[in-house]
Symmetry: C2
Subunit: 243 residues, 2 copies
């Protein structure tokens, strides 16, 4: 793990870009974090592999770091600004065409989000190894964001102790089936009128999770309308589980 740059932000947060082999990442930590006072780590990912530099993710990450967490995000294989396979590009082209034509998109989403999750999960686990070797981070670990990747990691990665999932995005068949195996505490966030995320499908997914402690927060409005207080609720949710 190699740190490339470091910036001290005005909210008391240190933002560091890093690379880990081919993986580009960003780590936000409160400046108080140190070897003698390590802070819990939260892995934060956008639905459907959107870039880690996307302003809404950066804003969430900085605020949660200011609250007292180490927050990390990466562009995993096929995600964000990383190169895409010819098949991924084809699926995206097909998707745009289908949406313009008003045709069903489930199978096209499946053909590019499914492989995206499969390829991203191992890179997130590799990153987790590296991040936990830093003196200023301590376990257990939280996960926040992209639902499909969160399910995959919660099922395969025992160091994930709690997950906040945003039900905004297509969840591949494999992860819908894996949902029953998820047992960590969950905070599941839904926008009631999210055009791209049918409500009933999100409610069915919430119902399917195997976790004994799971909470659904639903708010009126579309995909990008999540109210500001939900981020604070997320901090408190992690505060209950990342001690």
């Amino acid at each position: 793990m190699r740190f490339i740059s470091e910036r001290r932000l005005d909210d008391g947060v240190i933002e560091r870009e890093f690379s880990l082999g081919e993986i580009p990442g960003t780590l936000w930590t409160p400046e108080s974090a140190s070897a003698s006072a390590p802070v819990p780590l939260i892995l934060m990912a956008h639905n459907n592999g959107l870039p880690k530099a996307e302003p809404r993710l950066v804003a969430r990450a900085r605020l949660s770091a200011a609250y007292g967490y180490a927050v990390a995000s990466i562009d995993a294989a096929g995600c964000g600004d990383r190169p895409r396979s010819a098949a991924d590009e084809q699926a995206r082209t097909d998707l745009r065409r289908a949406m313009r034509a008003g045709e069903p998109t489930d199978e096209i989403f499946e053909s590019f989000v499914g492989p995206l999750v499969e390829k991203a999960a191992p890179e997130w686990r590799t990153t987790l190894d590296a991040l936990l070797s830093l003196p200023e981070t301590g376990g257990p670990v939280g996960y926040s964001g992209w639902t499909a990747l969160g399910i995959r990691l919660a099922v395969t990665e025992p160091r994930i102790a709690a997950a906040g999932l945003f039900a905004g995005g297509f969840v591949p068949r494999a992860q819908r089936e894996e949902a029953r195996q998820v047992t960590v505490p969950l905070l599941f966030l839904l926008q009631w009128d999210d055009e791209g995320n049918p409500r009933q499908r999100a409610l069915d997914l919430f119902d399917a999770f195997g976790s004994k402690e799971k909470t659904l927060h639903a708010n009126l409005g579309g995909h990008t309308g999540t109210p500001w207080f939900e981020r604070e609720d997320g901090d408190r949710f992690f505060g209950r589980h990342l001690k």
Copy 2:
């Protein structure tokens, strides 16, 4: 309004029993509340008119008072320990019989919860007048608990500025129709596996509210399994609206 008793509790809360004509009530206030530092008022009621002395309501009320609110509850006409009409008693007898026999209960609930809400609402408004005349309380006012009464009050009482509703109980036809007229910010609390409160009906009710700001919190478990952190979330919800 006549205060009958006063107790100083060990959490810094003053508990006062009062009567207002025929209406018996309890008021919990933080001991810091005074004419020069009034605190916002929350009206708190149990679903289906259960007694104000019920331990779960008292515990909630005390904790919210310790947090900084004045909290009041009453046994309104036909509710709690107050006398019931012969028709109410008959409906309850019919209800028990129908539940034992596994028969439908909707019409029986309608016949006693419907009138209960109609009779209770004016007494809560009378109580509100009296409570707001106290020097240590200040508006705007919050409402917490019984969904059907909350809908009625939110629609008829302009001083109610925000409502936390617990979807645990039968909501009469009249209030299901009035839900569209509710416009105050709402926090709607649902137990995912509440035997007495069909999930789909609760979700439909949440969908129906006219409020622009409405949040659903759903947790796994049965009717009495609401996790402790939801009470704190309720305090914060009121904190955003009762300034």
